[in-house]
Symmetry: C2
Subunit: 345 residues, 2 copies
DNA sequence: TTGTATGCGTTATCAG
DNA sequence: CTGATAACGCATACAA
């Protein structure tokens, strides 16, 4: 690996001059020297050492992407195609803008913070963080940060969140279910914080608009990492007969649920309707194809990077809460029902 | 961000001593000093600057993971759950071993090389590279490299590849199809290099064992990035009636194909049997569940990291070609057929 | 137009 | 047990 110093010595000139040529400050260098340097640059395929550059410039050219993995270690978070898509989109955009992406996946926030600080990351993208986590990160990390799919408290200044209009999405898909005659709807969530909570609110609003009250027993929460497990699924299965529809907070859950039920003889959508949220690969691939709430993941990733770079360049956003549009994607997992019809066994 | 220098000044001692305490070389420092330093360390939440460390130690603590993305830019490579799973496994293992992961996804090898050199990555994991790419990378990057799912030429010394016993996997699933009576089998691949080619060989061997000859028209190749597209699928659809089974080189392709066919009235497996390769999330989620060749992706990732770190620590492996075991996972996408039975329309 | 000197944060050598 | 000092590769303010 050749260095600037090496080349300066070889040409009998100073490192300053070589550095200038590398950075295109050719106005300050004679044409002849420029050529000599450029020849060497090419010949030895010079590649700058970014550690050294980071040190002098106090910036790293790294964008950190942190996922708080709330699942247990046996299930791999990235397995949800939503994350794969998002990471792919982020990677492409970050690279296109001349930065590098470093990923941190952990359920230990302090580990994430340590890594981010260690690398002196120029900007940070936080995916799916909850309130407290964000506070903790910001208390230590002062550089630009963009959230994806998070709900931060209002008190925090200068934060940007790229999310969906989750409330509306949940509202609309619930309306759709109601319009199709469903009255006994189970709401399946991961937790009751952040995105899931907002979706729950949209769900409730729709019920109210139809003069229905949310029944407590219709809210089914499955703690992270357990939904795939046999026992929790069996529990859901036992309760299935009380509902005509399951509204799930992600395609991933919806699909797992759907298959578990189908494999045990429940016909979807004939016996039970199911909806998802995300519109990722799985919802399209599954049969019956999943009726879900759609979003443009690629756009989400691009937008996040876009905001972040603007912040890095000095733009201040006072509390931007970007809500990307959502739309109900109707496929085949919901069937019309007579409102008075009781759930099938 | 507090630095070692800052702390040394505050305590009126030298940076060396502080550094020693940080690294646990307490045998050379008085107990009293140790305590004073540790107190400060905690109070100011000292985090080392890794750029500086990299500079002095000529190592970066980064493991590069490069995927050559052979698809066009509209389809996102990571969307294939196989890659998501693999990346998740790699990330977890790399972090657990005290390193950091930097991902490069690009179809431009020289871009990948540049990035790897710029960051002075300690080791490199190359996923799905073809012959020429590997040669190019190695000509510039001399540090330890581990391949995943690649087939490198014998001439290259000191390379490690973590792959599957692809030949055997393809052989066995073909045998399974043959045993089920199938005689008109289409083989669907991405290309005729690397892994896909080896799988093709296994396929052929099985045919030979059954006294059949591989017919040229049974080999269907779809160039990267096109298989999802309507036109290529339609083409496949038109040819479907010539076969009783499709053997696909990945679950991803199998699932896309299967759905396209099913949506147009072909019943699977009644009219046509389909098999995949990988046994990832999709094969389990789809209905009929996909009969495929299984592998342990997590183990694959762990093993790759394991080898790489051993190489970084100085172990030499002369041409290790690790072939992880495969096994045919029988699910519901293949049905028995009378050998003389001709393909259904 | 070119060169010198300095500093970024850390580690390592070696002398005290 | 402790501390000066140099070195890593690069960028930049300033001097010539």
């Amino acid at each position: 690996m050749i260095t600037i110093k090496d080349m300066a010595e070889m040409l009998g000139i100073s490192t300053t001059t070589v550095s200038n040529v590398i950075h295109g400050k050719t106005s300050e260098v004679s044409q002849k020297t420029v050529e000599r340097v450029e020849k060497l640059l090419e010949e030895y395929e010079y590649v700058p050492n970014i550690s050294a550059r980071s040190l002098t410039q106090n910036c790293s050219n790294i964008i950190g992407v942190a996922l708080k993995c709330r699942k247990d270690k046996y299930t791999n978070l990235i397995m949800d195609p939503f994350f794969g898509e998002l990471l792919g989109a982020l990677e492409a955009e970050i690279r296109a803008r001349g930065y590098f992406m470093m990923i941190y996946i952990s359920n230990d926030i302090s580990e994430i913070i340590r890594n981010v600080l260690t690398w002196n990351v120029d900007g940070l993208i936080l995916v799916g963080m909850l309130h407290d986590d964000f506070i903790r990160v910001k208390s230590r990390y002062k550089k630009p940060t963009v959230l994806i799919d998070s709900y931060a408290p209002r008190e925090i200044m200068n934060y940007v969140n790229i999310g969906l209009d989750d409330e509306k999405g949940a509202y609309e898909i619930t309306c759709y279910l109601l319009k199709m005659g469903h009255r006994k709807i189970a709401f399946l969530a991961d937790n009751m914080e952040g995105v899931d909570y907002i979706r729950f609110q949209g769900h409730q609003r729709a019920l109210l608009d139809y003069g229905l009250e949310m029944q407590e027993e219709n809210l089914l929460i499955f703690h992270p990492g357990t939904v795939e497990r046999e026992s929790s699924l069996r529990e859901l299965y036992c309760q299935a007969k009380n509902y005509t529809a399951f509204m799930c907070c992600s395609d991933y859950y919806a699909v797992i649920l759907m298959n578990y039920f189908m494999d045990r003889g429940i016909k979807i959508p004939e016996d039970l309707s199911v909806t998802g949220f995300d519109d990722n690969l799985m919802s399209r691939i599954v049969r019956p194809a999943l009726t879900t709430v759609g979003q443009d993941v690629t756009e989400k990733g691009q937008l996040a990077v876009d905001y972040l770079l603007k912040m890095i360049q000095g733009t201040e956003f006072s509390e931007s809460d970007v809500k990307l549009p959502v739309k109900v994607v109707i496929r085949d997992s919901v069937r019309p029902v007579q409102p008075e019809e009781s759930p099938k066994e």
